[in-house]
Structures are given as C-alpha cells and as structure tokens.
C-alpha cells in the first residue's frame, strides 16, 4: 500500500513537471511562459526534496523561486507583448520535431539500459569514508569544498565572468516606480530576516544542507528586495568596495590554496586539523562575492559612476604608462 501511494505521488509529480515544461516552452504569451517557469522552479524544489537531495531543494528554492524569477520578470519589461511564435517554416519545424523525438527515444533507451545493466560504482562510500578528514560533516559540502575544491573555485570564476560581461555591456537599468509604504514597511522586517537566514544557511552548511551558494543567493535576494523597495534612494556602493566584494571569494580561495600548497605541497590540500575553519573562511568570502555578483546581475548593468572610476584609472594608464586591468 505504501509503495503504491509513493508511486502515485511520483507519477503525478513527474506528469505535472512535464506538463509545466511543455506549456512553458510552447505558449504564445510571454507572461504565461515566465509564470509557468517560476512554478516549475518551485515544483523542482519539491522534486529534489522527494529525491532526498535537500541541498538542491534549498538551492532551487532560493535561486529558482527567488533570483531567476526576479531576473526573468524584470527582463519582461524589455519584451512586453511580442507573441512567442516560432517563425520556422512548417517543413523545418517538422524536421526539428522528428529529430528531437528520435533523440529523446534514444536517450531513454540509453538511460533504461544503463540503469538495468549494473548498479555502477557508487562514490558515496568513498565520500563517507573520507568525511572525518574533510573537516565538515555534511557530505555535499565536503565534496564541494574539500574533495572537489577546484570545481568550486572555477565555478566562482564562472560567476564572476558572467557578471563582468553584464557590467561591461549595459548601463544600469532605469529605476522603478516609487514603491508604496507597505512594501517599504515590509522590507523593514523582511530584509534583516533574509540576512539572518543567509548567515544561518552559511553556518549550517558545515553539518547540514546549506552553504555558500544558498547563503549568497539569499543575500542577493535581500539586496534585490531593497532595490525594489527603495528605487529612488539608491546610494551606490562606492566602486572600489564593489570590486573588492566581487573578487574576494576567489581571492580567499586561491590564497588558502597557495597557503596549503606551501604546507603540504598540493594546491588546495587542506590539512585535516584546520580544514573545518578554512572551509568556513572560504565559504564566508564566497557568500559575499556570490551575493554581490547576483545582485549586479539582477541590476543588469554597471552603476552610474562606474565610468568616471574607469576614466581616472584609464587616465593614469595613459600618462602613467603602467597597464591597467
């Protein structure tokens, strides 16, 4: 009976997920597509929870429901009402449909065959055996920040590159309409709460699902809320602080990596005794830089006085002769 109920739940969840995905991709109205996409993000958080991946449910909830929803909604202002209709000729459309269907069937066969063939090598055994050495007790954080520290370092670099492109491309987006008192009243209690929760998520990441990315995205959501609630009163960070915030995550990561290299001749090979504290230092710095990066990515452009900051450094470069970044 219990298995039956679990299967009913799984099948309905999967069918709903596929229906949402299908409607998001094939509806004409842009607004409906984005709303269904946000709904799919929420549903995905529940799917991750069902598949016993609480870290991902947390990340999907924060990023899926929070950041990417806000990003897409603010992007809609640039495409307000153009119908989303594919202009391909029916012939090409037919070919695309057939080819993707064939690919999907092939992939389903591959997955079916793969799962039935053998259970395959499970890495969780090695992770659990190495956990006491890793300095944290949450296996996902151990994998992210100790066993695969390179991967996380480069991921921070990817986020930074994405934000730098956003900054170089456009001016800051026009400010929004003056917001009502209620919204500002709400932010008085909600933003501090978001910041406290972000700190909690950062701290809890060592022994339970949480960590730098979810905490950083929470902070970014708080900043986005502040920006939406107080559009006029936008005192920009001064730009030096903003640049430091953006880079501090990678900077600390590499610094600790080099320091570890000097001690036990391997980049990012943490000595077990200090691993816990080192990971916490790296995570704090990563949280700050992810928050700054996602907030700037949401804003969609470089702050107003970014130019003259560049101009001064550029003028130094011309007459000073040394190159600038």
């Amino acid at each position: 009976m219990i298995e039956l109920l679990w299967s009913i739940f799984d099948i309905t969840l999967v069918l709903l997920l596929l229906a949402l995905a299908w409607n998001t991709c094939s509806t004409r109205d842009v607004m409906r597509a984005v709303t269904l996409f946000i709904a799919m993000g929420l549903l995905l958080a529940i799917v991750w929870a069902r598949l016993k991946a609480p870290d991902l449910a947390l990340a999907e909830a924060v990023i899926g429901a929070g950041i990417s929803g806000a990003l897409l909604l603010s992007a809609i202002r640039d495409y307000p009402s153009t119908p989303m209709v594919s202009q391909r000729s029916t012939l090409i459309e037919g070919i695309i449909n057939i080819l993707t269907l064939a690919l999907t069937i092939l992939m389903s066969w591959a997955v079916w065959h793969g799962l039935n063939m053998s259970d395959g090598v499970r890495l969780s055994g090695q992770v659990i055996s190495q956990l006491p050495v890793s300095g944290v007790s949450n296996p996902v954080t151990a994998v992210l920040l100790n066993f695969r520290a390179y991967d996380t370092l480069l991921e921070l670099a990817v986020v930074l590159t994405a934000v730098l492109t956003v900054l170089t491309l456009n001016e800051k987006r026009a400010d929004y309409v003056v917001s009502g008192r209620l919204l500002q009243g709400m932010t008085h209690w909600l933003v501090p709460l978001l910041v406290v929760t972000s700190g909690y998520l950062l701290w809890v990441g060592a022994h339970a699902p949480g960590g730098a990315f979810q905490a950083g995205a929470m902070l970014a959501a708080a900043m986005i809320l502040l920006r939406l609630a107080y559009p006029s009163k936008q005192q920009e960070f001064n730009n030096v602080l903003l640049r430091v915030l953006l880079v501090i995550g990678i900077f600390t990561f590499v610094l600790v990596g080099l320091w570890m290299m000097s001690l036990n001749d391997d980049f990012l090979a943490f000595t077990p005794a200090w691993a816990g504290t080192l990971i916490l230092i790296i995570e704090t710095a990563a949280t700050v830089s992810i928050a700054a990066a996602l907030t700037l990515a949401y804003r969609g452009g470089r702050p107003k006085d970014w130019e003259d900051a560049n101009r001064t450094s550029r003028s130094i470069a011309e007459n000073g002769g040394q190159d600038d970044q």
Binding site: V14, A53, S68, M107, S108, V163, L294, G300
Partner: protein
C-alpha cells in the same frame, strides 16, 4: 511498478527533449532562454535520479554537489544572456 530511479530519469530525458525542441524552434531570446533552462533542469534530474538510492539508503552526495554547481552556473548564464539580449536590442534601436 517501475523503479523511482527509472521514472525520474525518464522524466529528465523528457524535460531535455521538450527544452531542446523549443530551443531550436523559437527565434526570440526569452523563449529560447526558458527552453535552455528546461533542458538544464532535465539533465540535473537525470543526474539526481541516478544518485537516488531508495527510501532507506542515503543518496549519493557527489552528483548533488555537481548539480548544485550547475544550478548556480545556470543562473549566472541566464543573467548574462539577458544582458546580451538587452544590449542587442539597444543596438538594433540605434
């Protein structure tokens, strides 16, 4: 009944198919971006379905770490694509 692992991984494949079809079909940036994110979600679902070990056993943490990184990168890629889109719009208007 078929195992949860197979059900969810086939759902992942389905999501990928739907996303891929829409990415190829649409011209404008926003629908293609949504479709690409659906593709990404499909791949992540296949990953996590394979990592799932049943109600009793602990799920495999390594794919969880990979997909967590994937989610963060997907968001920053979406932000970048939107900024590029805005820039193109601005250039077209000039």
């Amino acid at each position: 009944m078929i195992s949860e692992q197979l059900l969810y991984s086939l759902a992942g494949v389905g999501l990928f198919g739907i996303g891929l079809r829409a990415t190829l079909l649409h011209h404008m940036l926003l629908p293609r971006l949504l479709a690409l994110n659906v593709c990404g979600a499909g791949v992540f679902l296949i990953f996590i379905a394979i990592a799932y070990g049943g109600l009793k056993i602990m799920a495999d943490p390594v794919p969880h770490a990979l997909v967590l990184t994937g989610i963060v990168v997907a968001v920053s890629a979406t932000a970048m694509a939107l900024a590029l889109g805005r820039r193109l719009e601005a250039l077209d208007d000039e």
